[in-house]
Symmetry: C2
Subunit: 296 residues, 2 copies
């Protein structure tokens, strides 16, 4: 029987499908835009692609949002509000007779990071996905921790200031309210940038070209990221913390302030122990992690 | 061989020793004040008492502070600064030829709560010890989670406001800075009480007698406790959260505001699932938990 695994990352703007072999090497990689959000069309398109992959052992699917991982259902996804209670597990298991699992994208990213970045040796590992929102995935003792109803890891929605700015979830002072897209825009604006430039990619270009205000904006983002990491370290005392998602590509601009703040505030023993880094597999991490999870 | 277990709670002001049988029933209970802090005298006194206990299977010891649970050493305890690098495991195993384990008191409390309050059915459980300081113990999937270097569960030292009041650890805005003893005194003072009355026991009497300012002080304490619990629920999505320590005896005065705040802010699915309560075994929880841990 083939040991190859399929990983699928369902995003609001694109679908990524990969096929990896036993050793984790990517054999095939297909990406297509999420244009027609009718779920039946999307699933059929995925299916057509999978039929060109030859034999494989299992399918892992990651998606943002509220996932019932036991039943393999996307209950609701903020990036694809058209999709509600879609049972992906049932669909693919019926069509392909292959074991299928579905999980939250941050969970998939954390598991992928545990296997690849941490080489399965860093048993306690947290991954933060730094994108429009801030997601969290938790690996404890080498196993993905989903919590009692599958809702664990909402690290973007821990309160770091009860008087802080309003988050997209409606609450004041969430970590995401400071360093999610909305928070980053507001920090960039406070440094004199207009809305257009406050997109993190463009802000990164400015900072890399030496623009002092852009560098200061990253330093502010790093300060709040440090508060979040400080809390994670004090709670979990993990072996490793990794970052994925768009903003992780600017980690070099965050690192100095981040480490300076942690060195000021965080308890020495757990801080000395933890490795903090950008995932080396950022772009494909969710799909690869989903594939590995499908084998567990 | 006897299935009885010994649990010892080493505190800054008293030592509690219990003997429990297989079913967790307390057979013997000895308490004596920690007057002479010379560790040799204290250990000898414990030893003399244990020799009156007949046969038992193992010893579990809980203490506040920095514990090396692998080696069974109290590295440093803030309540007994005279004790430094005391190897309790070695001492009792040599003297009594009985397996001995040593762990942080909040860890012991959480494990005791898992066995007794949660009846081993609430696999993901967090215990907060509400005393002079705020401690945390974490049970994940039925096992005590200590973190990668034994420093996990420092829930009292998560930042809930980077601009907040200074904590005893030196950092600004820790949960403990708001609801630890120092924080509670400052809240009571802000409600017009003098230092004497701001002791939580006395404040509790006032509140139970209907004093409006005392009731308002508890409501403020409950607000900050809610921020801490909100974060715990979003991170862990646990089955149960329990409280031990002195202030847990005033939980009835905290509960209404606590639940009101959580209902306002915390995600519905994990909030609906989690049971939040005072431990029924508050006073002996650390010793009982230590005893159970020694059997694992």
């Amino acid at each position: 029987m083939s040991e190859n695994l399929v990983g699928i990352d369902i995003g609001g703007t694109k679908i990524l499908i990969i096929l990896i072999n036993k050793k984790g090497k990517i054999i095939k990689r297909i990406e297509f835009p999420m244009i027609n959000k009718q779920y039946k069309n999307v699933l059929e398109k995925i299916l057509l692609n999978l039929k060109t992959f030859g034999k494989f052992k299992s399918i892992g699917i990651g998606s943002a949002g509220d996932i019932n991982s036991k039943k393999g259902i996307i209950r609701y996804s903020p990036n694809i509000p058209e999709w509600k209670n879609i049972n992906l597990k049932k669909y693919f298991e019926k069509k392909l007779k292959v074991k299928t699992i579905v999980d939250n994208d941050a969970n998939c990213a954390a598991y992928g990071s545990f296997v690849l970045d941490g080489k399965r040796k860093n048993k306690n590992l947290i991954t933060l996905t730094l994108g429009t929102g801030i997601g969290g995935g938790i690996v404890i003792d080498g196993k993905l921790y989903r919590g009692s109803t599958g809702s664990a890891g909402e690290i973007g929605h821990i309160t770091i200031n009860p008087n802080g700015p309003k988050c997209s979830c409606g609450n004041p002072g969430c970590l995401e309210a400071y360093i999610g897209k909305k928070g980053r825009i507001s920090i960039a604006k406070s440094m004199g940038f207009n809305k257009h430039v406050s997109d993190t990619k463009i802000l990164t270009e400015y900072a890399r070209n030496g623009n002092k205000n852009a560098i200061a904006a990253f330093s502010k983002i790093a300060f709040y990221l440090a508060v979040g990491l400080h809390n994670i370290i004090h709670i979990f005392n993990p072996d490793m913390i990794t970052f994925s998602g768009g903003v992780s590509n600017s980690f070099d601009l965050l690192k100095d302030t981040l480490m300076k703040e942690l060195n000021k505030f965080t308890f020495k023993t757990p801080l000395k122990h933890v490795k903090i880094r950008k995932s080396n597999y950022s772009k494909d991490l969710g799909a690869i992690g989903a594939a590995y999870l499908s084998r567990e």
